[in-house]
């Protein structure tokens, strides 16, 4: 039985450094190539030695597919392609291709220039890596080679995020990347057609969460920001530069506009301007509202949101600041946080998931005294709020996607093991399909039952149809005679004559003959006639002929009568039939053995 093997190198029962290997129909595909935010050592990248031990990456992998531009999905790409060495195609959507290098460059700068790491990929490597990228369009089927084809579907989550449908022959796998089933202010909802893949590899970040309606969340968020502003406090919203940041910007921007508010909103990073430019360009990837109104006004041209300068943090009066990074583990957001943490009028809103070990995670868990570098403690007096704005599908969303795609097996990645366990149970119970959740390095194997396509010659089909009389019933199987030829990797069903001709063989006739002794007091010709009338009355649907040369022919069966010289009354009936008429022949011989009924004339 053919098998599909899935091995996560990263993101198996874990969030971060997504990298999943899939072997399907003899093809090997790498899905995503990300880095881990929580580590600064070798664990930050996926363990490519798993592959290299069998030779070079390029020899092993047929293609690499990147689902979206978040660093935990593409952060290790230059490392893999340039430092480990991979020259095959890398597939990603147009927006991802545009924005990904910006983020990689930023990441490189922070690691090399700020932290002073060596042995890291260079700007040139990022450029070289991006040269290997083949862009994808939504719903466009791309042939990687003769057998492997991939197709991208809209995934929501961030601009340009895609789910990919990978197909080899009749086996297929869908990898979701990160996706969102509820539309938001700037992106639509993920959508896939009923492609019935063999495995659906889905993220499961929010495996145990069913979120409130997004409207409640938005209202809460706006209300909290508004209240803090009104009492003169400052609001810090730590975000990652791209993705949620734009969502929240649009939310606040439209709110400011609708309510005519005056307090300044700042955005802290220079990189956003570059990225916002791409957001303005890729309007087709956004949601209905933005797509429809961009002619009047592009929603990403913000009126109220201005660039942040470090000195503004000390300005008096209310303000809202978006600052990177999102988990308060380093950079500007942490600096501003330290400045504002002492005042209880201020507020920090964590709009998404925080990895364990980051300051974001600590303060969300209620820690009020933090140890920052230099062993000084920091009293956290400002209000800490958590708003789930991350654009991942929740439990119900995951179930909804399963219902949309109708997979035969399910595989969960990109989530915490305990939560996955829960969702796995639900899926197995609800859809009664198998669900896998391999850890990193573990291989999940799914046996498939692919249908094998066979070409059938039209003549044969027509002949069979003519035989059958009425139209075939599509619900009932029907058997037919033919010869299966396997040649040049293809299967063909043809009639036996044609098969013989193609193979250059002579046809051999196989005939069975049989003698039946019969007691009949009539002359030979009379006996034959009696047999003829008897058979005619028994075999209604068949052509029975009495030929003048003293034979009776039923279909292709020849019947002759001769009397034994010893006893004129004992007649020997000679039956002869071909192999094809075996059934009828044996029936006739059995029938004649019983003798002729007396009532015949």
């Amino acid at each position: 039985m053919p098998e599909i093997k899935v091995t996560p190198l990263g993101a198996g029962q874990d969030v971060g450094r997504s990298c999943i290997l899939v072997s399907i129909g003899g093809k090997n595909i790498m899905l995503d190539c990300g880095m881990h935010m929580g580590y600064n050592d070798d664990r930050r990248f996926p363990d490519f030695s798993y592959i290299i031990q069998n030779g070079r990456l390029t020899d092993f992998l047929d293609c690499v597919i990147i689902s979206h531009f978040h660093l935990d999905h593409c952060g290790a790409l230059p490392y893999m392609s340039e430092m480990v060495g991979y020259d095959g195609p890398i597939y990603m959507t147009h927006p991802t291709k545009a924005i990904c290098p910006i983020l990689l460059e930023d990441f490189r700068k922070i690691t090399v220039d700020k932290k002073g790491e060596t042995n890291f990929f260079t700007s040139q490597m990022i450029k070289d890596c991006m040269k290997k990228v083949v862009p994808l369009n939504l719903h466009q089927t791309v042939q990687v080679d003769d057998e492997l084809e991939i197709k991208a579907y809209y995934a929501g989550h961030v601009l340009g995020a895609a789910m990919v449908h990978i197909k080899v022959g009749s086996e297929s796998v869908v990898y979701t990347g990160d996706y969102n089933m509820t539309p938001d202010r700037h992106l639509g909802a993920a959508w896939i057609d009923k492609c019935r893949p063999d495995i659906l590899i889905s993220e499961s970040t929010y495996a145990t969460t069913i979120r409130d309606s997004k409207r409640c969340r938005e209202r809460d968020f706006l209300k909290k920001v508004h209240e803090t502003i009104e009492r003169g406090g400052k609001v810090l919203i730590p975000v990652f530069a791209l993705g949620r940041a734009q969502e929240l910007c649009i939310l606040l921007e439209t709110f400011w506009e609708r309510m005519n508010l005056k307090a300044p909103i700042y955005f802290s990073t220079g990189l956003t301007e570059k990225a916002n430019h791409y957001y303005k360009l890729f309007i087709t990837w956004t949601n209905q509202k933005i797509r429809k109104t961009f002619v009047q006004r592009n929603m990403f041209e913000f009126k109220h949101i201005k660039a942040f300068d470090r000195s503004y943090a000390d300005n008096p009066g209310p303000m809202v600041v978006f600052a990177t990074p999102g988990m308060l583990h380093a950079g500007q957001s942490l600096q501003i946080f330290k400045k504002w943490a002492g005042n209880e009028k201020n507020m920090v809103i964590m709009p998404g998931y925080c990895v364990q070990g980051t300051i974001g995670h600590k303060i969300l868990n209620g820690q009020r005294k933090l140890e920052v570098e230099g062993r000084a403690t920091l009293d956290v007096k400002l209000q800490v709020e958590y708003m789930s704005f991350s654009a991942h599908a929740d439990a119900k969303g995951i179930m909804q996607l399963i219902r949309m795609a109708e997979p035969r097996n399910m595989l969960l990645v990109h989530g915490e093991a305990v939560k996955m366990e829960f969702l796995k149970g639900k899926i197995e119970q609800e859809f009664s399909i198998d669900c896998y959740m391999p850890a990193n390095g573990e291989t999940a194997t799914v046996t498939t039952n692919p249908s094998v396509p066979v070409d059938i010659s039209l003549n044969l089909l027509k002949r069979e149809m003519a035989l059958g009389g009425s139209l075939p019933d599509p619900k009932k199987p029907r058997s037919m005679h033919g010869t299966l030829i396997m040649k040049d990797n293809s299967l063909k069903l043809v009639s036996s004559e044609q098969a013989l001709k193609e193979l250059g063989l002579n046809e051999h006739q196989l005939r069975f003959t049989c003698r039946v002794q019969l007691q009949d007091p009539h002359s030979d010709s009379d006996t034959l006639h009696r047999i003829y009338t008897h058979l005619k009355s028994v075999l209604k649907g068949y052509t029975t002929q009495h030929l003048p040369d003293g034979t009776v022919i039923v279909e292709s069966i020849v019947i002759k009568v001769s009397s034994t010289p010893e006893d004129a009354n004992t007649k020997v009936i000679l039956l002869s039939w071909s192999y094809q008429d075996e059934d009828l022949g044996s029936f006739l011989s059995a029938l004649l053995k019983k003798g002729l009924p007396s009532g015949l004339c």
Partner: protein
């Protein structure tokens, strides 16, 4: 083959009979046009190959065919059909057959046999499908013939097993449109040998391999339902299975099918698969359709969301699930309250995502009770309201509204969700949800936090949203006095931010006050800032915010007699002022100790309805009094009319309910008065040659009467044909007056003759239009004229003028009967206010946009009739047609025009004023009551009769507003 040849022979034979029969009358009728059939025949014979033939047919299909030659044409087409070997030509012929059978006045039953015969030998599937389509058209033309139907159904059944989907589609369509509704077919089944019920035949194709055929089968079934056939309940299961079809059209049709069945058999019981329980069918269907709200295709989602709204019989607990996203358990299996409680507990294992880390794993719960997805109705509306496509969201909001109106507990529950929708990104959705909330607001009382969210929207910069919200607040019930205070505060904030909302905010407070008098009462001292010991400064009477507060307080005081005791002196003074200046906002109050001063008001308040009646009585009496005037020249008649007109005008001002009627009467009487005066001029006694230009006043009067009659006819709504007849009569009188006056001044006989002819035409059309009303016009001008008409039409103009003059003088005053409701169309321009001293500056030659905001009342079809007129200081007039989209309809008989008017002019040296006013356009054709009969598709345009002479004009119906503008010369 022999049979085919025989048929050919038969066809030839029939042609020989037909053609002379057809051609002879055609020749007689129109010599210029050769018969279509003959021409076609020749063309088709000429065609050497199929392309040519197709060209001829295409040309032919563009031309109309008259009903009497259709049959001949069809026979020729059929003949060619049999000869033709090319599929495309046959296809075209088949489609032409269908087109021709639709010709009005042609009955296709004579060709039905031939049409059915063509099917037998047809090999091409496409042509077959087209032929079936033709049969469908023929069948639809002959609804009264059961035998034809029977035959067509047999044909359809025969071809149902075709391999081509199009043929099966058409067969199903045929079955759907023609299947017997009233008589069950199994009655005939013995005779016809196993003809089955149409429904079961159609339902066999629910499982067809082609999705298009499945859709067609569902549609055919729906068509049967539309035509009144009772769909069997057995289909329900099949329809439910189709809800999970791979193709969206099928799913969409299946949603409709399931809905139809749920409406037909709401109470029947269906089993739940995988359990031994049963529920009502409507509940089951509701669950299944709710499921479709999260379908992959948005068309299906819209369909499903819309459908949900009309399933009112669904059980309340199912309904409430649609708003619950977290309760994931399969509620259909619930049996006891104990189980239910357990499940509620179980549902808590999912975190809401609102608090950090509340999804930390707890102990494993019994997952059997928690079902994530098969729970049907769960959260359907939560999904629908969050949908990506605003079409789905609007459909969901509307469905929510329909369901909430029928169930108050559901209304209570969906409140939060609707309030959330106020924050939608698309204004249309926000507006719609505000409207919906208003509609269901009778069921609900807003809590303080909900009110808070609602009021937050008052800061919205869109005017439509704010006004919709004001409207909503007018109907809202609130529970505490804090709510009132909050609402007032926010409304005042709104007023401060957007001063143009003044009227709308005041109106809103008026209703808020009169709805919650007891809640306002404890707030009064604070609101009016009175103090028990000290006198507080008197607030500024021109402050809109202070007026707003007073409106709230006075309206509350109306049903709360203790409140006036809390007022301070100046409040009473302000009351008197406001009662006069804003009488529509401030109700009459019975104030202690001030009865003598405000006697009139208290009488008004005492018998509000009685006063309307008395006013009505007064109106009627005045009219009766006027009707005593027998002759226009009766002495004292003029004075009486003068008085009555004045009375009526004043009545109209006093009693708004009767303003329309009073104005109408006054205008009518004014016409009579003018006529009377004109007839009593001295000039009538002077010999013709002597008076040259002395009849200026009379001419002006005639003109004025004419204009007034147009006003009477088009400015007032609710007129019956009796009144219209009266108005036309007056107009006729005015025209007669004009005619006599022309006769006296002009010497030219030609003009006189032509105007006499025109007048006679007028009389004729009057007679035609108001034939039914003539008996009521007893002893009137027209009656007399009609008696004289044989004489008039033959006599000379001069004589006719004389007759007219005497009749005019003799005719009496026709009494006006009042219709039940009569309203005058009015318009008020809210913006521009005309108060600004700053001129609007712009470069001359370019345009400047002026925002115009006006309310229109009692205007029918404002999109076509209302225009904006701009009058420049140099007398230039521009009439601007607003776009249909600029009109909104906030209430019955009320419209709102918000538009931009583009002004442009050459340079001026000084700023100057332009006048903007609204016009009501009318077009009074002489035969206005009956639109000209539509011509068939036959004749070309040049044979159309010239449009009838109609009088078009405009009536200004709003006060004009002056706008200061200043076009500056362009800088070089």
């Amino acid at each position: 083959m022999a049979a085919h040849l025989k048929k050919r022979v038969y066809e030839e034979f029939s042609k020989v009979v037909q053609i002379p029969h057809e051609d002879v009358p055609a020749k007689k009728l129109r010599l210029s046009k050769p018969s279509k059939s003959a021409a076609l025949h020749i063309d088709l014979c000429k065609a050497t190959n199929s392309t040519d033939a197709l060209q001829y047919l295409l040309q032919f299909s563009r031309k109309p065919v008259e009903a009497e030659s259709v049959e001949g044409v069809i026979r020729i087409l059929l003949e060619h059909y049999y000869k033709e070997s090319d599929n495309s030509v046959r296809l075209k012929i088949a489609s032409l057959l269908g087109l021709l059978s639709k010709t009005q006045g042609f009955s296709p039953d004579c060709i039905i046999d031939e049409a059915i015969n063509t099917l037998n030998n047809e090999k091409s599937h496409q042509v077959l499908a087209q032929l079936l389509d033709t049969l469908l058209i023929i069948g639809a033309q002959l609804p009264e013939s059961p035998t034809v139907r029977q035959r067509l159904i047999e044909v359809a059944c025969k071809h149902l097993s075709d391999t081509y989907f199009g043929v099966r589609n058409k067969c199903l369509q045929l079955l759907g449109c023609l299947g017997m509704v009233d008589t069950p077919m199994n009655k005939d089944s013995n005779v016809l040998g196993g003809v089955r019920d149409v429904q079961s035949i159609i339902s066999d194709y629910f499982g067809d391999q082609d999705p298009r055929v499945r859709t067609a089968a569902l549609k055919a079934m729906l068509e049967l339902h539309e035509r009144g056939m009772r769909i069997h309940q057995i289909i329900y299961d099949q329809a439910c299975r189709l809800l999970s079809d791979d193709y969206e059209q099928v799913r969409s049709a299946a949603v409709q099918m399931v809905w139809v069945l749920s409406q037909l058999y709401p109470e029947s019981i269906v089993p739940i698969p995988s359990s031994n329980e049963e529920i009502r069918l409507v509940d089951d269907a509701f669950g299944k359709i709710s499921h479709m709200v999260s379908d992959g295709s948005w068309m299906v989602r819209v369909q499903a969301a819309k459908t949900l709204g009309s399933m009112l019989q669904v059980s309340p607990h199912f309904l409430e699930q649609t708003l619950d996203k977290k309760l994931m358990s399969d509620l259909r299996r619930k049996r006891t309250a104990h189980e239910r409680a357990k499940e509620l507990f179980a549902s808590g294992e999912f975190s809401s995502g609102r608090k950090w880390a509340d999804d930390a794993p707890k102990e494993k719960l019994d997952t059997n009770t928690v079902n994530l997805i098969a729970s049907g109705a769960c959260g359907a509306f939560v999904h629908g309201l969050e949908d990506e496509m605003f079409e789905v969201r609007i459909a969901a909001v509307e469905a929510l509204c329909q369901l909430a109106r029928s169930s108050s507990s559901f209304a209570e529950k969906c409140l939060d969700f609707l309030v959330d929708m106020f924050n939608d990104e698309i204004e249309e959705v926000r507006l719609q949800s505000i409207h919906v909330l208003r509609e269901i607001s009778t069921h609900i009382t807003l809590r303080e936090d909900q009110l808070d969210t609602v009021l937050a929207v008052l800061e919205d910069s869109s005017r439509d949203i704010r006004e919709a919200l004001h409207e909503l607040l007018c109907y809202t019930n609130v529970s505490t006095k804090e709510c009132i205070q909050l609402a007032l505060l926010e409304l005042l904030k709104n007023l401060n931010k957007y001063p143009t909302d003044r009227n709308s905010v005041w109106k809103c407070l008026k209703f808020l006050g009169s709805r919650h008098p007891t809640l306002v009462l404890p707030l009064v001292p604070e609101l009016l800032s009175t103090h028990p010991y000290f006198d507080t400064p008197e607030p500024d009477m021109d402050d809109p915010a202070y007026i707003a507060v007073l409106v709230l307080v006075f309206n509350a005081a109306k049903s709360c007699p203790t409140m006036p005791a809390l007022f301070s002196d100046h409040t009473f003074r302000h009351y008197a002022y406001l009662r006069d200046s804003l009488s529509h906002l401030v109700p009459p109050l019975r104030l202690p100790g001030r009865k003598q001063l405000y006697g009139l008001d208290s009488v008004d308040s005492g018998c509000g309805s009685g006063s309307v009646e008395s006013a009505q009585l007064f109106l009627q009496q005045s009219l009766n009094r006027v009707s005593t005037i027998q002759n226009l020249e009766a002495p004292g008649a003029q004075e009486l009319l003068d008085f009555t007109i004045r009375d009526l005008q004043r009545l109209g001002q006093l009693q708004t309910e009767l303003a329309g009627a009073a104005d109408f009467c006054a205008t009518y009487l004014n016409c009579q008065l003018l006529l009377m005066k004109a007839l009593q001029e001295k000039l009538w006694n002077v010999a013709v040659p002597l008076c040259f230009k002395q009849n200026v006043t009379a001419t002006a009067a005639a003109q004025q009467i004419l204009e007034e009659t147009y006003k009477l006819e088009f400015l007032y709504s609710g007129l019956e044909s009796r009144q219209v007849a009266t108005i036309h009569l007056v107009r006729l009188q005015a025209k007669a007056l004009q005619l006599t006056l022309t006769a006296r001044t002009r010497q030219g006989l030609d003009t006189l003759i032509s105007s006499c002819e025109r007048f006679l035409q007028d009389i004729e059309s009057f007679q035609r239009l108001f034939l039914t009303e003539l008996p009521h016009l007893h002893n009137s001008f027209v009656e007399k004229l009609l008696e004289l008409i044989p004489r008039l039409s033959s006599c000379k103009p001069v004589e006719m003028v004389k007759v007219l003059q005497t009749t005019l003088r003799q005719s009496g005053l026709l009494q006006l009967s009042l219709p039940v409701q009569i309203h005058r169309a009015t318009a008020t321009i809210i913006e521009p206010t005309g108060e600004s001293d700053n001129p609007l500056r712009f470069t001359s030659g370019l345009v400047v946009a002026l925002d115009v905001d006006a309310t229109l009342e009692h205007v029918q079809d404002p999109q076509t009739t209302v225009k904006v007129q701009v009058l420049y200081p140099d007398g230039q007039k521009h009439v601007i047609h607003p776009k249909p989209g600029d009109f909104r309809r906030p209430g019955p008989d009320r419209h709102r025009l918000i538009t931009q008017v583009y002004l442009s002019h050459t340079a001026w040296t000084e700023p100057s004023q332009v006048e903007v006013c609204l016009l009501l356009a009318y077009s009074a054709s002489t035969a206005s009551l009956s639109p000209p009969p539509r011509l068939g598709w036959s004749d070309s345009i040049d044979s159309l009769p010239p449009p009838e002479a109609s009088v078009e004009g405009t009536i200004p119906f709003s006060k004009s507003v002056k706008v200061y503008i200043m076009p500056k010369p362009a800088r070089r």
